[in-house]
Symmetry: C2
Subunit: 191 residues, 2 copies
Amino acid sequence: MPHIDVDKTLPGIRSLMAFRPETAKPLSALAEILLRDTEGLSPAERELIGTYVSYLNDCFYCHHSHGEIAVCYLDGDRDLVEAVRHNYKEAPISEKLKSLLQIAGKVQKSGKSVTPEDIENARQHGATDRDIHDTVLIAAAFCLFNRYVDGLASIAPQDLSTYPERARQIVEHGYGSHIYSKQAESPKPKA
Amino acid sequence: MPHIDVDKTLPGIRSLMAFRPETAKPLSALAEILLRDTEGLSPAERELIGTYVSYLNDCFYCHHSHGEIAVCYLDGDRDLVEAVRHNYKEAPISEKLKSLLQIAGKVQKSGKSVTPEDIENARQHGATDRDIHDTVLIAAAFCLFNRYVDGLASIAPQDLSTYPERARQIVEHGYGSHIYSKQAESPKPKA
């Protein structure tokens, strides 16, 4: 039961974005740039970092939503996403991504937890300044999204079969304002 | 010493925003809407919530920056800002703001920490759905800003006399892109 009077037919952050479109706009823009940029980290890697941080924050809606988006980018490899959630150190991913997930996990606790050794380890595995920047900001952004979603007790559908379709829409169309618009869900009537 | 190669003449988040202007834009827009909106909560109340959360997150740069902005809005009442940082329950502020700071403190820990009783308490002191929404999102946003600033070890000036001038600029001009532009610091030459 959400803490405020939002549209209960919309799940998670979408109900909050519909409640306050003024703040939805920069939040969507931030997600679009941070999670769909293809320079440096791939969208799949970016979504895996977001999924991992959301899992650490125990945000059911976010870690399932972004986990499914990662699954889409990874051609359906749900096992890999599960492996990153539960024990990324043993997951079949690059050493570079492991070093960035280590930084993301520190950021989830506190910015001050990140050490020069964490950064040096990422650099030795090929991470650039931009990769490190984006990793820290993705992890920090999910510390916002997760708190926003759970702090207002927005509805997280328990039926996991509802997440893949929404994930495909985001992979196809991005994090534009249409994702929290109800109208966007109904196709326009044919003329 | 920042973890990445940013302009070391710029402090805190301004150095990170100059490093990655693409993400700076939505972050500035979010701050502008959330912290300077005058509907419901006042800008002073919004900055006090941000200062308190930044203090809980032990982010020196953010709690001093936003504390000084709050001081500006409060006509120089630095004692009140100090009181909110250290023990808001005894501070000379409204019961409504105390109830919202209670929610913000919960969000700082985790979104799930916020209880229906916290929300009911805020309502009984006059908080609207919009006030509650904005409080949760401000607290969540500072969990991003604080982690961004400290996770990349950006420079936090230790000389507190440097904070008031920047605070006055923000109160006067807002969180526009100029706040992270070096050019904006030099007045245009007269024609």
